[in-house]
Amino acid sequence: MIIYADALKCTGCRACEVFCSLEQEGLANPARSGIRVVKDEPRNLFLPLVCPPCDEKACIAACAEPGALRVMPETGAVAIVEALCTGCSKCVSACDIGAIKFLRQTGRGKFGKAVVVKCNQCRGAPWCVKMCEPGALQYIAEAPDLNGQTVFERLRAALKESEKILAERGGQPRRRVKIK
């Protein structure tokens, strides 16, 4: 299954982020959600970023700890096994669409210092999709063909564009999002 995000339909309400963070982290806190909505309001640009997941899975290839990132057999989602995650953040850099967040927090991960946070598709019933009123997020079996472009290619292109725009506004590239 993949989560497909249509940026044109997103209204930027961030209900996906807050419901995701509750499911993943037990708190209402968009800074810790597995999905994030990159917003550039002056340009009317909203880009929901979430791991679809892609075919390449560069994150798993980059992961230094065997088994810390694994494909869930039921859904195909790439999930973190927190007990094994060292928080080295190699996957964060490897992900081309910025779908993985680095989280430094005492008591978390293999060494009790840090972990990464990403979408695990809520084990087959993603809250973000459920809460997305405008239908910008869809949970579908097959990635749609977008004029010869794959979902992932489109996301990558959109992210590149949004990073360029955010950089103009003084923003950091979003690959590494540090959260206290």
């Binding site: 209204t11 708190l27 968009p30 550039d40 506004r169």
Partner: protein, 663 residues
């Protein structure tokens, strides 16, 4: 610092003394949360306790309270709202303004429920908050800039586009008494002129970024309730219309009712309404739908003008009120010009309602010969002259020229300064201009304006059940026995009940951080029961519908008591002559006047207020735990202090005298 006992709250608040530069992070008093919830309630409590009535709203002694509530930043539909509370520079009495957007949740995520600003900075500053880091920064480079540029400059200099801001434009800096505060992204806390309070404090902006989370007491139960409310709102019969047009959709609904104020309330229908309707707006100018935090409704839209004189204008938050105040109210049928006016008001920081009403007041004064050509600084104040409207907005925002400077005081204060019968054409209650809701065409709205604690206002009681008829919801909320009168806009029966209940419920909503348009009044799925359940599961505070009603009543009564300290009495609970003496000229309401006399006595009785003075009775206040307030107001009234303050409020009382030929 001992841990705050309830989830849902950040549990801390900031006290920022702008005079000394001292910033204190303090534990949120538990009794504030238990007695007043948050937002509107806590703001009222602080104002009552800490700002004496003789304080000038623009002096360093006034305080500005920025407050979120326990549901803000959580899961409930539109958990976005935050409240600004202070003394109003426009009315001189209790003032508040509420905004959605994304600032409120960010403040909670940074770890603060409330900010109290005191004093006045020596030079312009802005408050910067990033989690535990809180500092006052120099804002000399931002002073004189519009709201849009200010927001982007703050984001850029801090290298973080996700910073949310609350800023004032030039109007607030110039202490224009109808100035608004703009909250990310382009939502406005517009009424009561609170932008001028920020300006008077030399506080240009508040910038916040937060990465802490908010704990939820019963996550599973709260999420289930929130999900149910989101789902019910999406399924509501009014959802499609509100989602599609936002409040702009009301234009076409109000027009045939004769409830679309035109030419400074001389008429109730506008022959050019089609040019400025929600349908036209969507068809000709829509760019995209946008939403406040966690809102399934998304009543906000981005519009742009593609061609013609105003090509290139892009704006959002084009509300029904704006379309009326800067459209029909001033007889302007040029929609692109109206969109331009909207974006200018947003950037300079003007309340579009008060700005539009003040301009229509000036236009009528010219029509009636009270203002002469020489008084107009070279402007042609003919009805509908959109170029004049745009130029006048600029002069008001910058206090430029004699007329601009005069109208920057708002209609009711300007009327007092002009004299010569000008007060007859200032359509206001307690100093605040009446919004686009005519009490002749909807009786409950007339009552709502009069009993609102911040002067004329539709949003305190927000009686929508009888606006266009809402029988299914009226039955669910109040029972079948009140139909059909309850949902008949022209009937007066049961309207006191509707208004009182709306004020109490509205005070609770504004104190919790959810939205009056997103599922509580409009698309009314959330009511006392659901709201109590949401607070209980979010915070862990014991709460049921009855306890919540008491809190709503307590907040509203305390606002009334605060106004009484300012000399407000039964005599100020009046509508201008046009509403009570001149029959509505058009639409369904044709021939109708607002029968305040048939509703107000019942309202006082239901409130437990004295019918003669309009003061809450001793038993009423004692029941609400406000015995101390009763002693304070009676002592103040007996000492004569209240009359002295009333005499200094600065606005001309609305004209309620006989209707003569020369009116």
């Amino acid at each position: 610092m001992t841990a705050f006992p309830y989830a849902g709250y950040a549990g801390r608040y900031l006290r920022v003394n702008l005079t000394t530069g001292k910033i204190e992070t303090l534990p949120l008093p538990v009794e504030w949360a238990e007695g007043y919830l948050g937002g509107n309630g806590i703001g009222t409590k602080i104002l009552w306790d800490e700002v004496p009535p003789q304080t000038d709203p623009l002096s360093p002694d006034d305080k500005l309270i920025v407050a979120t509530g326990p549901l803000c930043g959580g899961l409930m539909p539109n958990a976005s709202r935050l409240e600004f509370v202070s003394k109003s520079p426009l009315t001189g009495i209790y003032g508040d303004a509420n905004a959605g957007g994304h600032f409120g949740p960010e403040l909670k995520y940074a770890g603060y429920d409330v900010i109290v600003f005191e004093g006045r900075a020596r030079a312009p500053v802005y408050l910067f908050i990033r989690d535990d880091r809180v500092e006052l920064r120099d804002a000399a480079h931002l002073w004189g800039k519009g709201g849009f540029e200010t927001e982007q400059m703050i984001q850029k200099e801090n290298r973080d586009p996700e910073i949310k801001t609350a800023v004032i434009g030039q109007a607030g800096e110039k202490r224009v008494r109808i100035a608004a505060i703009m909250v990310s992204w382009r939502r406005h806390a517009a009424r009561s002129g609170l932008g001028a309070v920020m300006g008077a404090k030399n506080l240009k902006a508040i910038a916040v970024r937060g990465t802490r989370g908010i704990r939820i007491a019963e996550p599973a139960a709260h999420r289930a309730l929130a999900f149910q409310m989101h789902s019910q709102i999406r399924a509501n019969e009014f959802f499609a219309g509100v989602h599609r047009f936002g409040t702009a959709g009301l234009v076409s609904l109000m027009q045939p009712m004769g409830r679309f104020p035109t030419k400074n309330f001389q008429y109730g229908s506008f022959d050019g309404f089609d040019a400025i309707s929600g349908e036209t707006l969507r068809e000709a100018h829509l760019v995209r739908d946008i939403s406040c935090f966690t809102c399934p409704v998304g009543c906000d839209k981005v519009y742009s003008v593609m061609s013609g004189e105003f090509a290139g204008v892009t704006t959002s938050s084009v509300e029904y009120e704006t379309l009326n105040a800067l459209g029909a109210g001033v007889m302007n049928r040029n929609l692109p010009a109206l969109l331009k006016a909207n974006v200018l008001c947003d950037d300079w920081g003007l309340d579009t309602i008060s700005a539009g009403r003040t301009i229509s007041f000036a236009m009528e004064l010219v029509e009636k010969g009270i203002l002469s050509r020489a008084d107009c600084d070279g402007l042609d104040l003919a009805w509908g002259n959109y170029r004049t409207i745009l130029e006048l907005l600029r002069r008001i925002a910058f206090r430029e020229g004699a007329l601009g400077n005069l109208l920057a005081e708002g209609a009711a204060r300007a009327a007092k300064m002009i004299g010569n019968g000008a007060e007859r054409y200032a359509m206001h209650v307690k100093g605040q201009e009446i919004p686009s809701q005519d009490g002749r065409a909807q009786q409950s709205m007339g009552l709502a304006h009069v009993t609102s604690s911040r002067g004329a206002d539709h949003l305190k009681a927000f009686p929508v059940l009888d606006e266009t008829g809402y029988p299914s919801e009226a039955v669910r909320r109040y029972g079948k026995q009140y139909l059909p009168e309850l949902v008949d806009p022209l009937a007066t029966r049961y309207k006191a009940m509707l208004v009182k209940d709306g004020e109490d419920f509205g005070a609770v909503i504004d104190s919790c951080g959810n939205c009056k348009s997103g599922g509580t009044f409009v698309m009314a799925e959330v009511y006392w029961q659901e709201q109590a359940e949401a607070i209980r599961t979010m915070t862990g505070m014991p709460m049921d519908a009855d306890q919540l009603r008491t809190i709503g009543e307590r907040i509203y009564n305390l606002q009334r008591c605060y106004n009484i300290l300012h000399g407000i009495t039964r005599a100020d609970d009046v509508l201008p002559w046009r509403f009570t003496q001149i029959p509505s000229p058009s639409g369904n309401a044709k021939g109708s006047i607002c029968h305040l006399d048939m509703m107000l006595p019942e309202y006082y009785a239901r409130r437990g207020w004295d019918a003669e003075t309009g003061f809450p009775n001793q038993e009423t206040l004692a029941r609400l735990g406000l015995a101390e307030a009763w002693a304070r107001i009676n002592q103040a009234v007996a000492s004569g202090a209240t009359q002295e303050i009333r005499a200094r409020l600065g606005w001309a009382a609305p004209y309620t005298g006989p209707v003569r030929d020369d009116l």
